[in-house]
Structure formats: C-alpha cells, structure tokens
Symmetry: C2
Subunit: 94 residues, 2 copies
C-alpha cells in the first residue's frame, strides 16, 4: 500500500471505490488467490501509467488485467481497472 | 480492416482468433452494437501499442476495453484484447 494515495479513486468493473481503506478491502481477496503475475506491457509518462498483465489465480488460471494509473507525488491517485469478471463468476457458480 | 494483417492473432477473453476473416466475424456483432468510443489512454513504441478506451453499446452502457497491439509493416499482427464479459453476459440473460 506504499504507493497508494489515501484518497485513491479506483474505477473497477463492479463500480467506484474511494479511499485506501476501501481499495485495500477490494484487493485483499484477489491478492489472497493470486499465484503469479506476468507483465505484458508497461507504458507511461510523467503522471500516467498504462499496464497490462496476466495473472494466475487459484480460481482462474489466466486472468489478464489492465490498469490506467494516475500518479501524483509518487502515489497512485486514480486507477481505471479492467479485467474480465466472467470466468471468476463462472468459477464461483461451479 | 485496412490495418489488420491477414494472419492476425487475437487473444480475446473467449479464446484465440486466427486470421483476418475470423477476426472480422468476431468483431462484427460488437461493431453492430457500438454507439460510441472514448479513448482513455494511448501509448506505444515502434512495434507495440497499448490502448484503453471506453465504449457505449446498445447492450451495455459503459464497456471499457484494453488492447495490446503488435504492429508490423503498418498492420496489426497480434492483439491481446481485454474487456469485461460479465455485463454482456448478464444483459443477454436478462
């Protein structure tokens, strides 16, 4: 959480998350099932980063994600977060 | 299709699509429901582009996507394509 701004806003597939406490609560279940991450591409400039990665999780073997990050004063203040929720939904229903 | 290589490989959420004919068949239903696109970020270098955009479709009001594109000789030869299938799945079930 070192690089997460206290007032981070994350626009995730399920909706808007505001603040580091809520962001941590949102990420914790995902991190708990995370087995590995492979970075596919990273780009950025002074204030923005755009990354795409693949992850392997205990629930879904390949779960790629993309994030458009805004950085200010060395911390992430905004994250537009994208991943495919369908395989997670299907795995939970199975 | 001007910028699509004949032998494009697209790694989409639902699986691997090979060749321009299959890629066109894959994209056609999406394009038919597309109302508008807003580019959120574009980065790239000599051979790679990473983009994130939001789309509005007749089925899902906000459907963001990200693409990691490999370009050779002015055409897209590889696309790692990411979007959230869940709202489309839910809309089709409703």
């Amino acid at each position: 959480m070192t690089y997460i701004a206290d007032d981070i806003v994350c626009e995730a597939p399920a909706g808007r998350i505001e603040g580091a406490v809520a962001y941590r609560a949102f990420m914790t279940p995902f991190v708990a099932m995370l087995k590995s991450t492979t970075m596919l591409a990273t780009f950025g400039d002074e204030s923005t980063a755009l990354i795409m990665y693949d992850t392997s999780t205990t629930l879904v073997p390949s779960a790629p994600g993309a994030e458009l990050l805004t950085v200010a004063a060395g911390r992430i203040t905004h994250s537009r977060f994208l991943f495919d929720r369908l395989p997670f939904d299907q795995a939970r229903r199975a």
